[in-house]
């Protein structure tokens, strides 16, 4: 609150103090303490060494590719299904009303409940993981698309009517471009969901990807690898979210979807 707001403000080291102190204390405790060869915890330097080991031998890259591949495949299906459902529900108040109970009955089923079912149908591998990701990540896309269609500027639709546009032209040339910013917000939310669900499914059962790599490291008593992968997952999630935020700002000058809806009103 009292920090000088001038252009030559010195670097603020305070946010770094606590993590650095904790890491130093942790390192000292592990190196000097009796728990030098711990099977449950690893010293920070060991985590760093472990990280470079799995980077060098390619296991991290393989696992990351598997997780991201499954997340991306599931996300693509989720966006396709969510977009179509959202369009239909947004355009037709009747269908929306008729499907309300059915959708509200299926939607709250937690993703993880479907893991054993998907396992039974597909066995292990990409398909079971992607089907669960698609189921979970399609809801935000569907809901945001439906709201975006509902909030469309009525004059846009009047223009379409005046131009005697066909239905497909109306959807492709007027509606989709108009809702694109908000659909992108939905895509960003869904991408976050997809990554979390991918890792959860891998930890719960599917023997591939970063989640399974963490479980394997834990079961073979390599805490330094478990921690290294955990931090990597955090960085990955952070990177993907910020990359999508950056894209969102570049593509849609309005910024966020909520601002767009205010503009439309």
């Amino acid at each position: 609150m009292t920090a000088p707001a001038g252009p030559t403000r010195p670097f603020d080291w305070r946010p770094l103090a606590v993590p650095l102190a904790l890491i130093t204390a942790w390192e000292l405790a592990m190196v000097l303490g009796p728990a030098t060869t711990s099977e449950t915890l690893a010293a920070p330097h060991a985590v760093l060494v472990g990280f470079f080991t799995i980077v060098a031998d390619g296991t991290l890259l393989t696992a990351t590719a598997q997780t991201l591949g499954a997340a991306l495949g599931g996300l693509a299906a989720a966006v396709a299904i969510g977009l179509v459902l959202g369009l239909v529900l947004g355009l037709s108040a009747l269908i929306d009303m008729l499907l309300e109970v059915s959708i509200e009955a299926i939607r709250p089923v937690p993703s993880i409940a479907l893991v054993p079912l998907a396992m039974m149908i597909y066995g292990f591998g990409y398909r079971m993981e992607m089907s669960i990701i698609a189921f979970t990540a399609m809801w935000p896309v569907m809901i945001l698309t439906r709201t975006a269609i509902r909030d469309l500027e009525p004059r846009l639709l009047e223009v379409a009517k005046a131009l005697r546009m066909s239905f497909s032209d109306k959807v492709m040339k007027i509606m989709l471009p108009a809702i694109a910013p908000r659909v992108f917000v939905a895509l960003r939310l869904a991408a976050g969901v997809a990554l979390v669900v991918a890792i959860t499914v891998e930890i719960a059962s599917n023997p591939q990807g970063l989640g399974a790599a963490m479980i394997l490291a834990q079961q073979t008593f390599h805490p330094e690898l478990t921690l290294a992968i955990l931090i990597w997952i955090g960085l990955l999630g952070y990177g993907i979210n910020h990359a999508l935020l950056y894209l969102q700002r570049r593509l849609f000058a309005f910024g966020t979807g909520s601002e767009v809806s205010h503009d439309a009103r």
Binding site: M1, D12, R14, P15, A17, V18, P19, E39, T40, L41, M97, L98, L99, E100, V101, S102, E104, A105, I106, P108, V109, P110, S111, I112, A113, L114, V115, P116, L117, M119, M120, I121, L195, V196, I199, T200, I203, A204, S205, G211, M214, I215, A217, Q218, P223, T226, L227, L230, I233, G234, L235, L236, G237, Y238, N241
Partner: protein
């Protein structure tokens, strides 16, 4: 208007029943292998039998108890720590960015780390649920307190309120919309984490029930378990909606609505 709503709801219910009938037809003509998709009647039988004879009821109650206990622990810790950090500019400077760094880590990814440290006991499951469900509430409390109108703090200073009064009378009420939205998210996280931990540890619960049913290719039991988890998801969500409506009734509908979406 309300009559139209009622008719709409009945029609919607009829459509849902139609879907169940379609499901019945699909299983009747074996369009999907019965190992994967049990007939609706068999699912219902499995549900009723499992609940009446005990095992499914026991598993459901175990999961419900874990979820709620872990969530309550997370609420106390999350809002408590969040209130401390959010009202102290010093703590905020030092801890804010560190706490924020935990946001992108999926709660389930903490499970392998915590298994290594505390093992797969009942206590570990609770600590995993609490730790995983804590972050949304912690960060939302901080965010809510940070976005309090600064003028209100000046008023509090003029009235010579002490810190505890400021937090309970001004800070937390302003942060309630953020906290409630996070509590809803945390409940979902708690349910998922409870189920994952049961799958990994084999402790009695719906997670273990689902895995066991799938291994036995008993799709009726599996669907009964999924159904109960869906009901849990629905009920917790509905309860949070009621709580939000009740606690946020002093807000304008627009603002309350926005908080519900955030």
């Amino acid at each position: 208007m309300t009559l139209a709503r009622t008719i709409g709801f009945i029609a919607s219910l009829a459509v849902a029943i139609l879907f169940i009938f379609l499901w019945h037809l699909v299983t009747l003509y074996k369009l999907v292998p019965p190992v994967f998709l049990p007939p609706p009647m068999k699912t219902y039988d499995a549900l009723v039998q499992g609940l009446a004879s005990g095992p499914l009821l026991k598993a459901s109650l175990a999961t419900l108890q874990r979820m709620l206990l872990g969530w309550l622990l997370a609420c106390v810790a999350g809002v408590g720590i969040g209130a401390l950090v959010g009202t102290s500019p010093v703590l905020m400077r030092y801890l804010g960015p560190t706490l924020e760094a935990f946001r992108p880590i999926p709660a389930s990814a903490l499970i392998p780390v915590l298994i290594a440290i505390v093992g797969l006991s009942e206590g570990m499951i609770l600590s995993v649920i609490a730790f995983g469900a804590l972050w949304p509430m912690l960060l939302a409390t901080i965010h809510g307190l940070q976005s309090v109108e600064p003028l209100l703090y000046d008023v509090a200073g003029a009235l010579r309120m002490n810190m505890a009064t400021i937090i309970s009378k001004i800070g937390l009420p302003s942060a309630v919309p953020d906290i409630l939205a996070a509590m809803r998210l945390s409940l979902t996280i708690a349910l998922i984490l409870a189920t994952v931990c049961e799958m990994l540890s084999g402790n009695t619960g719906l997670g273990q029930w689902l895995l066991y049913s799938a291994r036995q290719f008993s799709s009726a039991n599996l669907f009964a378990g999924i159904l109960i988890l869906g009901v849990f998801g629905y009920l917790t969500n509905a309860l949070m909606t009621v709580a939000e409506r009740h606690l946020l009734r002093w807000k304008s509908p627009h603002e309350a609505n926005r908080a519900g979406i955030a």
